[in-house]
Amino acid sequence: MNNTETFLEENVIKIVPKRTRFGKQKGDTIINVMITTLLVILAVVAMFPFYNVLVLSFASVKGMAEHSIYLLPYTFDLTSYGKLFKETSFYRAFGVSVFVTAMGVALNMFLSVTGAYALSKKGMPGRNILLSLVLFTMFFSGGLIPFYLVVKSVNLVNNILVMVIPTGVTTMYLIIMKNYFNTIPASIEESAKVDGANDMYILLKIVLPISKPFIATFALFYAVDRWNEWYNALIFISDSAKIPLQIYLRGLLINMSVQLSSSAAAVVDSKAGVGIQATQMASIVISAIPIMCIYPFMQKHFARGIMVGSIKE
């Protein structure tokens, strides 16, 4: 598989240089320190709200009453977490989001990869028309009512899949993926053809394996979008058993419409509303955990994936 290695070498790995450019130069240290300090301050400021959330999620009633400015983790009270974990509607919403993200990403990637790869073939008759049709949808849409009617006619209203199927493709990602596939040298595909492979085989066994970083990047893009999905749910889901986590959070955070089962109504009413803030913060922390887990895995693929796809034409 010489071609693959060369391809990776030339187009992907080279991006991370092996040598650093920083040699010893006068005045360098001062600038280095300045820049580093600035960036560290920036990072602290950026992280502060999350720190605040985390600290508040561990707050107890006494702690909140004693310290009006809650800056340090005065208490490590896990009651809010406990209460949240006992709450079935929270579980359900979490489960719904997991399902939607898993199914959604699978569908997203299937449609995007097949579409992008096919549309990257410049010689294909009709390709330009199809591409224009796709691009057109980035600007014009029929509006909410016709969309609702279409969703209704395919029986997706109030169906969990309404958060999966109508969000099947994000055109912008499709275009970037198409651009990426255009950067794969024709020689790779040609030599495979000479060996007798058909186009499907080429896509599955040759193109995809070498595109792993790229695919991973977009899988993550889609995953984040599906996990944070709320608009379709707001419009189409009436069954409170099918709401995704974001809608549940929305209800909890604006404290208005979350219908907690009566046995767990204590979550909201307990501790004179002081506990509700801790519960809200705990729910935020829990909902962020899946994202936090995936991100470090994907990070190393990002730089390569994003750059290659969007620069080359």
Partner: protein, 547 residues
């Protein structure tokens, strides 16, 4: 890539063709689904016209706040089981929440996907008009004698005022109480009397000036060191019900934008809220209060139950909220948990009915109902008959006793007018979990709050509520306005909506002179057709013989 550009142009033509074909397809589908629904409903033939025919089991889809939870356990719910059996129906939920019910209503109505029964506050809006004119909602049968309790309920004057030019009524309003004097409790101002005393106030405020002084004292002194803020509100839309009482009581509105009242000014009918000489003093008062920090700066951001938390935890000196129900459920509950040793009414007092600039004390006035039930036009007459029976059933005193107290002689006993509970409220909730939310299907019946049999209310609060209502009847006057003009229909009026809380807040928190900002507001509403609407309404008033 000019090929691409050329293709792009061709695309637009292609799109229209493609979508045209697709459109035919989807509209046909919509037609099909309509007919199939109708077909499935008319299963058994021959419904008798006279007498009550309950032979056909019917399924009614209902959109009501929290209906999902209400119907979740229908199999084990004694109230539902009885209702289903008696009326030979089942109910299917279409969940709506306080957060999204308007959106859902709009979408469902526009895409022909209405449930059989839907709750929303629509009277006075543009779409209310459109729904009636364009056949979205079904009219009630003109003769309601078959449903006696419902018939009596519907004969209240402000409900009869909803009769359309074709003689029909298209909705069943969700009643709050029987008469407008109860409105006095729709906007309640509570304040921390304990903190006021700590700040040196010796007398409960009897007018707006003393109220302001007290607020200022609490905020300045800050007895508990919590950086307490001034008056806050449960929802910014509610401020209209309080602040207008200073000089323009007829302008009090419920925040919906379409209930603005008409008064006579200079021989002409005008909306009270746009009568400059009446509005300026109130706005000036608000500005002064805000500048002197008597009003919470976050007042516009309060969502959900945040304001209750704020008030009870001592970070707001006063709270504007709706109804003694909330005083009990939200404020009292929180207070008991945070300060179990002090009865709430010792530390928290309700603001009195303060005299306006003309020397008379007024109370805010809205309607005897809030929100309504609408019925999809797809519903067949047979089903409508059954729905009317359901509504009639829910209004009957026996049913009310059922959903409030349970089964007679099992969950409660009745001696004359007095009810003695056998089953505790918690256990009753397990036996009939639906009643909590389903109660509000036909009417809210807030008058129940003042019923001594009501054991869900803290007795101290209940006593205070009844006493204050009497007090209101003695000292507070209902403002004068022409009730017949509030809901009439004219082209310009149908499109007109007044968000008074919006400009009230802007002017209150603004920096420019109040008069100038008010002039700008008038200009803004002028551009929306204020003069035209006034003209049309006065014309209509002449026709109606009002002068």
């Amino acid at each position: 890539m000019s090929k691409l550009k050329r293709s792009l142009a061709a695309v637009i033509v292609a799109t229209m063709l493609v979508s045209g074909v697709a459109a035919c397809g989807s509209s046909e589908k919509a037609e099909e689904s309509k007919t199939s629904v109708v077909a499935s409903e008319s299963t058994s033939a021959g419904s008798t016209t006279a007498g009550v025919d309950l032979s056909e089991k019917m399924n009614i889809s209902v959109a009501l706040w929290g209906i999902d939870e209400a119907l979740a356990n229908a199999g084990n719910d004694q109230f539902l089981k009885e209702m289903y059996q008696k009326l030979n129906i089942t109910l299917t939920p279409r969940q709506i929440t306080w957060d999204d019910y308007t959106q859902k209503a709009q979408i469902w109505s526009a895409s022909g996907d209405m449930p059989d029964v839907m709750a929303i506050d629509a009277v006075g809006t543009t779409y209310y008009r459109n729904w009636i004119d364009q056949g979205v909602v079904k009219a009630l049968p003109e003769d309601l004698s078959k449903y006696p309790t419902l018939n009596t309920y519907m004969s209240k004057p402000d409900i009869q005022a909803l009769k359309q030019p074709d003689g029909k009524i298209y909705t069943i309003p969700r009643g709050l109480y029987d008469s407008l004097d109860y409105c006095a409790h729709d906007r309640i101002v509570l304040y921390r009397w304990d903190l006021a005393q700590k700040a040196g106030i010796t007398k409960e405020p009897a007018n707006f000036q003393e109220f302001n002084t007290m607020l200022k004292a609490i905020v300045d002194k800050d007895p508990e060191g919590k950086k307490i803020s001034g008056l806050t509100a449960n929802n910014i839309k509610q401020i209209s019900g309080f602040f207008w009482l200073f000089s323009n009581p007829a302008a009090t509105s419920d925040g919906s934008g379409s209930d603005f009242k008409w008064i006579k000014d200079d021989g002409k009918y005008v909306p009270a809220v746009f009568t400059t000489k009446l509005t300026l003093p109130s706005l000036q008062n608000m500005r002064t209060m805000y500048e002197e920090k008597m009003i919470d700066r976050d007042i516009a951001n309060m969502k959900g139950t945040q304001s209750y938390d704020k008030f009870v935890s001592g970070t707001s000196a006063a709270l504007l909220l709706v109804g003694y129900g909330n005083v009990n459920n939200q404020v009292n509950d929180r207070w008991k948990k945070l300060h179990p040793e002090t009865p709430m009414l010792d530390a928290i007092k309700k603001a009195d009915y303060f005299p306006a600039v003309d020397g008379t004390a007024y109370q805010c006035t809205f309607k005897t109902y809030w929100s309504e039930s609408y019925f999809s036009n797809e519903v067949e007459d047979k089903k409508m008959d059954r729905i009317m029976m359901l509504y009639d059933y829910m209004l009957q005193p026996d049913t009310k006793e059922f959903y409030r107290y349970g089964v007679k002689d099992v969950d409660y006993t009745k001696a004359g007018d007095k009810i003695t509970k056998i089953t505790s409220q918690a256990d009753l909730d397990k036996k009939q979990p639906s009643s909590a939310n389903l109660q509000a299907l036909v009417e809210f019946d807030n008058a129940y709050l003042y019923d001594p049999n009501n054991s869900t209310i803290d007795p101290a609060i209940s006593k205070a509520a009844i006493a204050d209502l009497e007090h209101a009847r003695q000292v507070a006057k209902l403002p004068d306005y022409e009730v017949k003009l509030t809901d009439i229909s004219t082209p310009a009026k149908n499109k007109f909506s007044v968000q008074d809380y919006d400009f009230m807040f802007k002017i209150m928190a603004g920096k420019e002179p109040v008069e100038k900002m008010w002039e700008d507001v008038l200009k803004e509403y002028e551009a929306k057709g204020l003069s035209k609407m006034i003209e049309e309404v006065n014309g209509k008033a002449k026709e109606m013989g009002l002068n």
